[in-house]
């Protein structure tokens, strides 16, 4: 025995000779963890479907250019949207349930400003040229977006703009204190640099439209709503009455109209607010007269608050019934309204309250109660109504999508109507969403026919939609994301501390009311990184390494740069720790498949 063990006089110490790696403990497993990125709630709320969780992650890492490019894949106008978008993303942010939402729009603007300051050139994927040209009528946000995305998909896109400068409503309908002209020009220049042609001062008439149909493979109509909707009351075409949009346009063209005294602004939308706040800046007084209540106003709440801060007066539940000139003044007759039940859109239904009308005397009246298409041929073909059924000439067309309408007459050139012409919510980001959807629809039309559009697009939804992702459409990495929307309960908040949201520096009220200077000021890179660092990065892996660290079985393997993690299922016992300790639900624990 002693000889057998090689023992002489020495003490025998048995020594191990192999590792435990021959025990494939993966056979113990009945639950199977896996890496599975999911969708953040902010990104589904963003009409442009921006990959916000990833954008914030890149900002935290100081990768500003990559973050900016990540926006540009889904939205060509971050400098504009970081300023004028009503940021529904923030209203849906999971961090709200923890402390306060991430200042997503502030981050977006920061990235755009940083790129502009450094004159950064984006590097973006573009599909090989398709040899097809698309004419785009109107260079507003819808037209710009359609051109940008069609260009990405390999089309030659050419924009026709009636005005001498591009931008549409962005240039002529939004005051400079919200959107400085230089910001817009910068974004448009980048769009042109990517290969989009913009032909200025080229009005497209009905006959020119017919010509375009023959010389292009498709036409996108994004000419917006420019015709003021009439109030249909006596005196509205008299002197002293102006339309709001034309007034804003004059200002952007450099005019300094005399607005001394009191101006009444009729309406409750963003244009009404823009007009009133501009009047204040020109030294006048402004009273907004609105038929309904403040909570029913379609204007963004932050805009209403700012207007009131700046001294705009708001008079609710007053419907104009007549405007009469009296010397150089206007007498505005108003009917007091009351709320009675609810309208179909959920707002209070209003009716005259039975009292006799009141009169107010003002120096002038601005009408900003909404706009409509300037020409009837701008209007998309109506949606088919039940009972009235005409067999479509091309099967599946006209196709009414959420943000655009595709039509083709007798195998002719496909026409897409988009932007305000088709959108139910008429604002900048929805217009961008429209341009994107139109580009996808048109490309699918050319690739595989009208009958495949709905299905192809439904595969590109961000979460449950309606936002669409061009990155998904182009088979980018985002395609791997699950549509599951990460909830606050699915975040492991043990890994986050309460931190106050960035305070956006702003001009003082006195500074605001005396100039058209931009109100919101810049933030520093450090501030941006700190704010982005508050983001949970819902559903996406930010390489925090928790899964690797806490694995009791050493079976999280890492590839290049210590990223590209994967699980060694030979040994993983399925304890589930990695999934629970992943702060951001980038992993999933599922049942092990029965063998």
């Amino acid at each position: 025995m002693e000889a057998e063990l090689g023992l002489k006089k020495n003490l025998y110490m048995p020594r191990t000779s192999v590792t435990t790696e021959s025990n494939k403990t993966g056979s113990w497993r009945f639950l199977r963890p896996r890496y599975e990125e999911k969708t953040s709630p902010c990104s589904t709320a963003c009409p442009a479907g921006e990959d916000i969780a990833r954008i914030e992650m890149l900002i935290t890492q100081g990768a500003f250019k990559e973050a900016w490019e990540t926006i540009l894949r889904e939205n060509p106008l971050p400098g504009v949207c970081g300023r004028v978008c009503y940021h529904p993303c923030e209203g849906n942010c999971n961090r709200r349930e923890f402390d306060t939402s991430i200042a997503v729009h502030t981050m977006e603007r920061f990235l755009a400003d940083t790129a502009a300051r450094n004159e950064t050139k984006p590097v973006l994927e573009r599909l090989p040229p398709k040899g097809k040209g698309v004419a785009i009528i109107g260079s507003g946000p819808a037209g710009l977006a359609a051109a940008w995305f069609l260009n990405m998909l390999g089309y030659d896109s050419e924009i026709f703009e009636a005005m001498p400068e591009a931008g549409g409503l962005l240039r002529w309908g939004i005051p400079a204190y919200r959107l400085p002209a230089a910001v817009l020009s910068n974004e448009i220049a980048r769009i042109e640099n990517q290969g989009v042609r913009i032909r200025l001062s080229e009005t497209v008439s009905a006959s020119r439209f017919e010509e375009l149909k023959t010389s292009y493979d498709a036409v996108f109509l994004g000419c917006g709503y420019w015709r003021n909707i009439a109030l249909n009351i006596p005196g509205e075409s008299g002197s002293g009455v102006e339309d709001g949009l034309s007034f804003l346009k004059q200002l952007r063209q450099g005019a300094k109209p005399d607005v001394r005294g009191v101006s009444a602004v009729i309406g409750g939308g963003n244009t009404a607010i823009d007009v009133a706040r501009s009047i204040i800046r020109l030294g006048g007084r402004a009273v907004i007269v609105y038929r309904r209540r403040r909570e029913d106003m379609p204007a963004f709440d932050e805009e209403i608050i700012s207007a009131l801060e700046e001294g705009v007066e708001l008079r609710e539940l007053l419907a104009p019934v007549q405007i009469a000139a009296q010397g150089s003044d206007c007498i505005l007759t108003l009917q007091q309204m009351k709320v009675e039940g609810r309208d179909r859109d959920g707002r209070g239904r209003i009716a005259a309250d039975g009292t006799s009308p009141v009169e107010i005397s003002v120096q002038r009246v601005f009408v900003a109660t909404g706009a409509a298409a300037a020409e009837t041929w701008h209007e998309p073909p109506p949606a088919e109504t039940a009972g009235h059924h005409t067999a479509p000439l091309t099967p599946h067309l006209p196709l009414h999508l959420s943000h655009c309408t595709l039509h083709q007459e007798q195998q002719g050139t496909p026409i897409i109507y988009g932007g305000d012409l088709t959108n139910t919510s008429k604002n900048v980001t929805q217009a961008i969403a429209s341009g994107k959807q139109a580009a996808m629809a048109l490309d699918t039309f050319f690739q595989s026919g009208a009958g495949t559009i709905r299905e192809r697009l439904s595969g590109c939804l961000v979460g449950e939609g309606p936002s669409l992702s061009m990155e998904i459409y182009m088979h980018g990495p985002r395609k791997e994301r699950k549509t599951h929307i990460v909830s606050h309960q699915e975040i492991n908040t043990d890994y986050f501390q309460f931190e106050p949201r960035v305070i956006q520096p702003r001009l003082l009220i006195e500074e605001r009311t005396s100039s058209f200077d931009e109100i919101e000021l810049k933030i520093s890179a450090n501030t941006a990184m700190r704010e982005a660092g508050r983001c949970f990065n819902c559903g996406i892996c930010n390489d925090c390494d928790n899964c690797y660290l806490f694995c009791p079985d050493v079976c999280i393997l890492r590839g290049r740069d210590m990223t590209e993690r994967h699980i060694d299922y030979d040994y993983c016992k399925g304890c589930g720790l990695c999934v629970v300790e992943c702060p951001r639900n980038a992993m999933t624990l599922g049942e092990e498949e029965k063998l």
Binding site: P14, R15, T16, S17, V18, T19, T20, E21, S22, N23, K24, T25, W28, D494, C544, D545, N546, L549, F550, P552, D553, V554, C555, R558, M562, D568, D570, Y571, K573, G574, C575, G576, L577, V579, V580, E581, L589
Partner: protein
């Protein structure tokens, strides 16, 4: 979490620790912090099994399996042998369970640290004799079910405060650590490695099997032990200088108890009593650290 230079792996897959075992996570962190030049002394405990049945080993460092009660004595011998060979660089660490530390190994441990032997004694605490089937130890907390404190006879005695017992020896370094706080844990191990003389580390290591908790909750519960002040993170230098490393936001202990099967029988009045005990211990610690509640 950013932990640099910890990519080296000195523990192997294929070990037979239970799914979600906190003691294996503790080992992984400790070895990452110590590095290869380490000899481990391993008295009987779950880890005797996890380290592998002969001829296997799940650890890529030399390990000496030794008798249950001899952690302190064997380490003293290994240290002496290394010193005789002129190797002062290699770290000697004893890795023992709470049974092997608080109870049966206490004499050898006390003797070794009284002599101020140059080694680290790490106790991974899973609060019972787990390897032999969940028998209570003097580390088992007040209120816990074990296979020897069953039914109405759940443990009604306090957990021994082992760190204070070691601090009473006036050793150069004694500290608590927790698997849910890897940065703190690794810093403490590195600190202990750099100090000459006896070092004691009390490492909280959850045990899904013995505590009747789901395996995926092992880290969450470990974290809560700190957040509730049940297991405060602190260190003591030379038996007198206390530093509290983490000041929790006073979570209630019932949150911690609620999650574990071993405490299921406790009533609200019991939990209130436990809360008082925890508050008292925390107050005591604050006083030692010269801080105010």
């Amino acid at each position: 979490m950013q932990l640099d230079a910890l990519d080296k792996e000195l523990m192997c897959s294929g070990h037979v620790g239970c799914p979600g075992c906190g003691a294996t996570i503790a080992m992984r962190f400790v070895l990452k912090a110590l590095g290869e030049k380490t000899v481990m002394v391993l008295p009987a405990c779950c880890w005797s099994v996890i380290a592998g049945p002969f001829p296997q080993s799940s650890l890529k460092i030399p390990v000496i399996h030794t008798a249950f009660e001899t952690g302190g004595a064997t380490a003293s011998g290994v240290r002496a042998a290394l010193d005789m060979k002129g190797d002062t660089e290699t770290t000697v660490i004893t890795w023992a369970g709470d049974g092997g530390t608080f109870d049966i190994g206490f004499q050898a441990l006390s003797g070794a640290v009284e002599r101020n032997e140059d080694f680290i004694y790490a106790c991974y605490d899973n609060e019972a004799y787990m390897n032999t089937g969940i028998q209570r130890s003097s580390s088992t907390p007040y209120g816990a079910w074990t296979t020897t404190t069953t039914g109405a006879d759940w443990k009604k005695l306090r957990k021994k405060n082992i760190v204070e017992a070691l601090v009473a020896h006036r050793i150069p370094y004694a500290a608590t650590a927790n698997i849910a706080f890897p940065e703190d844990l690794i810093r403490k191990v590195k600190k202990a490695k750099a100090i000459r003389g006896s070092k004691f580390l009390h490492i909280y290591a959850s045990c899904p099997t013995g505590w009747r908790i789901p395996s995926e909750m092992s880290i969450k519960i470990a974290r809560m032990a700190v957040q509730t002040n049940i297991f405060p993170l602190y260190e003591v230098e030379n038996g007198v200088n206390y530093t509290i490393n983490y000041k929790p936001k006073e979570y209630l202990v019932r949150e911690y108890f609620k999650l574990q099967g071993r405490f299921r029988h406790l009533k609200d009045t019991d939990l209130d009593q436990i809360q008082e005990m925890v508050n008292e211990d925390w107050g005591l610690l604050l006083r030692k650290a010269g801080e105010h509640a």
